[in-house]
C-alpha cells in the first residue's frame, strides 16, 4: 500500500528490571546501540529517530522525548516522539514505518524506553493522573480498577472463569524462562495464580505484569537499504491503529472494538483475509492475563469468547498451532510500557528470522503480528510482519 516497502533489519533491548542503575538515557543508548550493531549499521547511517515512551511521570521528566533524544541516537537528527498510552510500543514502529514509507527517510531508529522505578511511592501513583481530572480522580481510583471492571465484564459476557484466564499467566511466565531479559519468569500453576493475593477482584497479583525499567529498539530501513544490509529483512506489511472515545464508561467493555478496527486496517494493508490461517505467530499485548484473550478475539484470530478454549486446548503454546506470546509477554518478560511493545515487535522479528533461540516456534513461520493496547481501554495498535 505504501509507496515504499519498509523492513525491520535490526533489534536490541535491555534486560527488563524492577529497578535499573542506568538512567533512561543510558538505557536508551544500550538498546539502540545493540539494535544498530545487530545489523552492522552505525549512527551515521541513521536519517531519523522515533522515540516511544508513555507517561512522563514515570521517569519524572517533562518532555521526556527531548530528554532521551541523545541516548536514542537523535543528536542533530529529525526526532519525533509519539505516544498512544500503552499502545505506544507497537505504535513506535508504525511511526517508523510512515517515516520510511513516506520516502523521506531510508534508515530510522525506533527507540522505546520507560523507567518506572523513578516514580514514588509506587508507579501506580502515576496512574492516578491518567483518569479524568474532574470526574474520576476525586474517587481515587487505582489503575487496576478499570481493568478489573473490564475483565469482569468480559468474563460475564462469555461465561469465562478466572481459572481459564490464569492459564495465560502460567504459559507466559513459563515461556519467559527462555528469555534472557525476563524480569518475572517462573514455573507456576493455575492454583498459584488463583491463590495469589487478590488486588482488585477479579484481578490477582499473578494476573498482572510487573512495573519495569527497560528499553528496546528497532532499526527500520527502506527496501534498497534493507536488501543491502541483510539477507533476512522482515517486512512491515501492514499497520493499523485506532483510538476509541475517552468516555470509557459509555462503551461496551466486553469486546475491544478498537483492536478489531486496528487489525482490519493492518490486514487490509497486508492483504490478510483469513488471519487465523495466514498469521503464524502472534504477540498480543498481555499486561493483564485476560488481555491476551481479549486481544486474540479483537484481532479476529478466534471468535468472541473463544480465546479461553484456544488456550485450554494448548493451541497458543509455543509449540501449538498458533503460538501466542512465545517471548513470555509482559506477564513474563516485564512491562516497561512502551519498551514492552517494541520488545514484542522484536520478538516477531527474531521469530521470523529463526533467531529466537530457545524460544523459537516450530514450523518456520513467515508471518507474524504484534499488538499493543492502552489508554482508558481505548487504543489498539497492530503491526503485521512477513519474511
Amino acid at each position: 500500500m505504501g509507496l515504499r516497502r519498509v523492513a525491520i533489519v535490526g533489534a536490541g533491548m535491555t534486560k527488563f528490571m524492577r529497578r535499573a542503575l542506568e538512567t533512561g538515557r543510558e538505557l536508551s543508548w544500550q538498546a539502540s546501540r545493540m539494535a544498530l550493531e545487530s545489523c552492522e549499521l552505525t549512527l551515521k547511517d541513521v536519517d531519523g529517530v522515533v522515540i516511544g515512551t508513555a507517561p512522563d511521570v514515570f521517569d519524572g521528566v517533562h518532555m521526556k522525548g527531548e530528554y532521551l533524544a541523545d541516548g536514542a541516537g537523535g543528536w542533530g537528527k529529525p526526532v519525533l516522539r509519539g505516544y498512544v498510552g500503552g499502545g505506544t510500543g507497537v505504535f513506535s514502529p508504525i511511526q517508523g514505518w510512515y517515516h520510511v514509507a513516506s520516502g523521506l527517510f531510508d534508515v530510522v531508529l525506533v527507540v522505546a524506553e520507560e523507567k518506572m522505578s523513578t516514580c514514588h511511592p509506587h508507579p501506580q501513583g502515576a496512574f492516578l493522573s491518567i483518569f479524568d481530572n474532574i470526574l474520576e480522580r476525586p474517587l481515587e481510583p487505582n489503575l487496576i480498577w478499570i481493568f478489573a471492571l473490564e475483565m469482569h465484564r468480559y468474563m460475564a459476557a462469555y461465561g469465562i472463569s478466572k481459572r481459564d484466564i490464569a492459564l495465560v499467566s502460567v504459559k507466559n511466565k513459563r515461556n519467559a524462562l527462555d528469555h534472557p531479559c525476563a524480569q518475572v519468569a517462573e514455573n507456576i500453576t493455575v492454583e498459584d495464580v488463583l491463590n495469589s493475593e487478590v488486588l482488585v477482584w477479579p484481578v490477582n497479583r499473578l494476573d498482572v505484569s510487573p512495573v519495569s525499567d527497560g528499553a528496546a529498539a528497532l532499526v527500520l530501513a527502506a527496501e534498497h537499504v534493507a536488501k543491502r544490509v541483510t539477507d533476512k529483512p522482515v517486512w512491515i506489511d501492514g499497520v493499523g491503529w485506532h483510538l476509541d472515545s475517552a468516555y470509557w464508561t459509555n462503551r461496551e467493555l466486553c469486546y475491544p472494538k478498537y483492536v478489531e478496527y486496528a487489525a482490519r486496517m493492518a490486514y487490509r494493508m497486508a492483504g490478510i483475509t483469513e488471519p487465523r490461517k495466514q498469521i503464524h505467530v502472534v504477540e498480543p499485548y498481555d499486561p493483564f492475563s485476560y488481555k491476551e484473550l481479549h486481544h486474540l478475539e479483537g484481532l479476529l484470530l478466534c471468535g468472541k469468547g473463544e480465546a479461553p478454549q484456544l488456550t485450554a486446548d494448548g493451541v497458543t503454546q509455543r509449540n501449538g498451532d498458533l503460538p501466542v506470546c512465545p517471548s513470555g509477554g509482559l506477564m513474563g518478560v516485564g512491562n516497561p510500557i512502551a519498551a514492552s511493545g517494541v520488545m514484542k515487535t522484536a520478538e516477531i522479528f527474531w521469530q521470523l528470522r529463526g533467531e529466537a533461540g530457545k524460544r523459537q516456534v516450530p514450523g518456520r513461520p513467515t508471518c507474524g503480528l504484534a499488538q499493543a493496547w492502552g489508554d482508558l481501554m481505548q487504543v489498539g495498535t497492530v503491526i503485521v510482519l512477513r519474511t
Binding site: 542506568e22 545493540m34 509506587h122 501513583g125 481515587e140 469482569h152 464508561t249 461496551e252
Partner: protein, 167 residues
C-alpha cells in the same frame, strides 16, 4: 542467535536504591493545576451540588449523554439540550478493590462500578462506588440509587454522591 547475546542493563535491589548503595537524587514535582471545568462539566458539577444528575442530548443521533459534553462525538456537532436524569441506574460492571490508588492495602474492600444512569442512552454511565452492600451480594444489572451527601456538605463534586446503593 539472540539467546546467546549479552543483554545490557544493571538491575538494582530495593536496598541498593534506598540504603545509599547507589547515588540518587530526590525531587518533588510541585506540578499543580486548576482546570477550567468548562460549560458541560461545570454545569454537571453545579447540578450535583443540587442533588441532580444532568446529561446532554444530541438531536441527530438521539442519544442522551452522561457525562455531558457540548459536542456529540458520533455526529461531530454541538449537542442540543440539557436533560435531567434520574439518580438511579444499573450496575454495568463492578470489581472489589483491596488497594488504594497508590497500591497500599485497605482494610475494608471498596466496590468500584460503572453505573448506567436511568434516562441516559443505553449503556451510558460513569465510574463510582457501591455502598451499603456486601461484595458477594452485588451483581451485574443490579438496580442502584445514589446516596447523596447532605445538601450543605455538597460542593459540586462527583463525591457529592457518596456511593450508589441497591434499591
Amino acid at each position: 542467535m539472540v539467546g546467546e547475546r549479552e543483554f545490557p542493563g544493571t538491575p538494582l535491589s530495593d536496598e541498593d536504591l534506598h540504603k545509599g548503595k547507589v547515588l540518587t537524587v530526590e525531587a518533588d514535582p510541585n506540578a499543580r493545576y486548576a482546570w477550567d471545568t468548562g460549560v458541560a462539566i461545570g454545569r454537571f458539577l453545579a447540578e450535583l451540588k443540587n442533588g441532580r444528575i444532568i446529561g446532554r442530548r444530541c438531536h441527530r443521533c438521539r442519544r442522551t449523554l452522561v457525562p455531558p459534553r457540548m459536542f456529540c462525538e458520533q455526529c461531530f456537532r454541538p449537542t442540543d439540550e440539557w436533560v435531567y436524569l434520574k439518580d438511579s441506574g444499573r450496575v454495568n460492571t463492578y470489581s472489589i478493590s483491596y488497594i488504594r490508588w497508590d497500591a497500599s492495602r485497605v482494610a475494608e474492600p471498596t466496590i468500584p462500578a460503572v453505573v448506567e444512569i436511568d434516562g441516559a442512552h443505553k449503556g451510558m454511565g460513569f465510574l463510582h462506588l457501591l455502598g451499603e452492600v456486601k461484595p458477594d451480594d452485588v451483581h451485574m444489572g443490579m438496580r442502584v440509587k445514589a446516596v447523596w451527601k447532605r445538601p450543605r456538605e455538597r460542593v459540586g463534586s462527583i463525591r457529592d454522591i457518596l456511593y450508589f446503593k441497591p434499591y
